[in-house]
Amino acid sequence: MSTTPVITVDRLNLTYGDFHAVRDLTFEVRPGELYALLGTNGAGKTSTLEVVEGHRKPTSGTVRVFGHSPQDRRAVRPRMGVMLQESGFSPDLTVRESVGLIGRLSGRTDDVGRVLDVVDLTGRAGRRVSQLSGGEKRRLDFATAVYGTPELIFLDEPTTGLDIQSRDAVWATVDRLREDGATIVLTTHYLEEAQQRADRIGLMHQGSLQREGTVSELTRTLPAVIRFSLAAPVPALPLPAAVDADGKVVIETFALQKDLHLLLGWAQEHAVELRDLAAGSTRLDDVFRAISA
């Protein structure tokens, strides 16, 4: 497999009037990886995605998709599928007509029936888009993105508003596409989805990339946490600890296994009950809170 990046973003800047939405953003997406672009609200990820998808011109900097300008629709679009954040389908067309139209215009070929089957909308094929539920509209959007099995797929909050079954079905389809070598760019508010599936994550805040790396690279920078509450006064703790707003004891550590062992040994020795004991490595949520704090 080629190692030339599928997407290259170099010193991208985007301004709307006085508002600097994206500042000096540089990143690349490699073939076959799932790159999650995450960020707080207003961090600039949708603006970034719109430039990379070719919907918006950068104020400065360069963006290349498969080596072409993303504005070059003829060269780029047949190779990429886009799931927009907001649907954009005509309410008066049926599901089958919508997939057929957008699919044909993508420049790829596929069977509409097959695609509807993949997103479980076969039973809704003859319905007008205006009669679909929110989740069905998301699946319709997903159907147009995967029509013709493109090499690159943009998923802008793909699972927002989907029930668990639909969400699992979407990810099962994405997994199959990835087995065939597809590259995925994902934005989502469900951090656990990114944590589970992303090969690499770019964390945006106030228009620039604050952190980038694999999930473990990102979470490793923050300590793991042990939490518990105490029913009665106890002898001095074996580790430095703090008490949070709920009265729980909080221990932060970069050596979770060792310190947890020490704590449990101490509790056993002094016959102390550690109520609601919880210990875990840092989650992406915490990395998020740390950058926006």
């Binding site: 998808e53 070719g54 919907h55 629709r73 003829r74 679009r77 047949p78 886009v82 927009l84 907001e86 649907s87 954009g88 389908f89 005509s90 309410p91 008066d92 067309l93 007509e97 139209l101 957008i102 044909r104 215009l105 993508s106 420049g107 007008r128 147009t144």
Partner: protein
């Protein structure tokens, strides 16, 4: 382009409101003019009736429908969706406007044929075709420009009024009073020269070369409208 056009045609026929305003209303008005052709020919001439019929369809059937369609496709992000495919902007706009333009041409052709059968035909059919096509081109250009100033299909009911009422007023004025006086004022107003051209084509009596000069102001309006459209047209709703 044809796949966009055919899906657009489906949408027009499924949306009753659009169907009524773009097809039935202009046709009803035109039927009135053709049925009462003796009265209206006495006020102006048969050429006046041909011009007012053309402008009624072009203003309500074509222009207002095109503005409403573009505003509505933009508002529900259908334009953005089309732009996320491999289709280019020109192809998208042509596909979206082709059905309304063709429907308008069919209506004009049918009504003018009816007028010709009932009251006698035009003296120069080729010139009449040119006049109708120039009118349609001008109204499409104005529709693209107006769509840029229109936020929603509801808003289109307001934003289309100056042009629809304006061109109907100009067509009536020029169609009834002719261009014996204030000739250049009348010809430079949008629709004025096209009305005179249609009148000449139907009534005859004017040299074809003189009539063809009347294309210049109409095509000038096309250029102005397209220039405005390139500055004003938006593909996505304002945030």
């Amino acid at each position: 382009m044809l796949s966009i056009a055919s899906s657009e045609l489906i949408q027009i026929f499924r949306n009753r409101l659009v169907l009524v305003t773009s097809l039935i209303v202009p046709v009803a008005v035109c039927v009135l003019f053709v049925r009462q052709h003796e009265t209206f020919a006495a006020i102006g001439s048969l050429g006046y009736i041909a011009a007012i019929v053309t402008f009624t369809v072009a203003a309500f059937g074509l222009y207002a429908t095109a503005v409403t369609t573009l505003a509505s496709r933009r508002q529900n992000l259908f334009l953005k969706r089309l732009r996320s495919t491999a289709a280019g902007d020109a192809r998208i706009l042509t596909g979206l406007l082709l059905p309304v333009a063709v429907l308008a041409l069919i209506q004009v052709a049918a009504i003018l044929t009816a007028l010709a059968v009932i009251a006698g035909g035009p003296s120069n059919v080729a010139l009449l075709v040119v006049a109708v096509l120039a009118t349609v081109a001008m109204m499409i250009g104005l529709a693209l420009a107006t769509a840029g100033l229109t936020n929603s299909p509801e808003h289109a009911q307001v934003t289309t009024l100056p042009v629809t009422l304006g061109v109907i007023a100009v067509a009536s004025w020029v169609g009834i009073t002719g261009t014996a006086d204030l000739a250049w004022v009348k010809r430079l107003l949008p629709g004025g020269a096209a009305t005179e051209l249609t009148r000449n084509a139907w009534n005859g009596g004017v040299a074809v070369t003189d009539s063809l000069l009347l294309l210049a102001p109409t095509l000038g309006w096309v250029v102005i409208a397209v220039a405005l459209a390139t500055r004003l047209f938006r593909w996505e709703p304002r945030r």
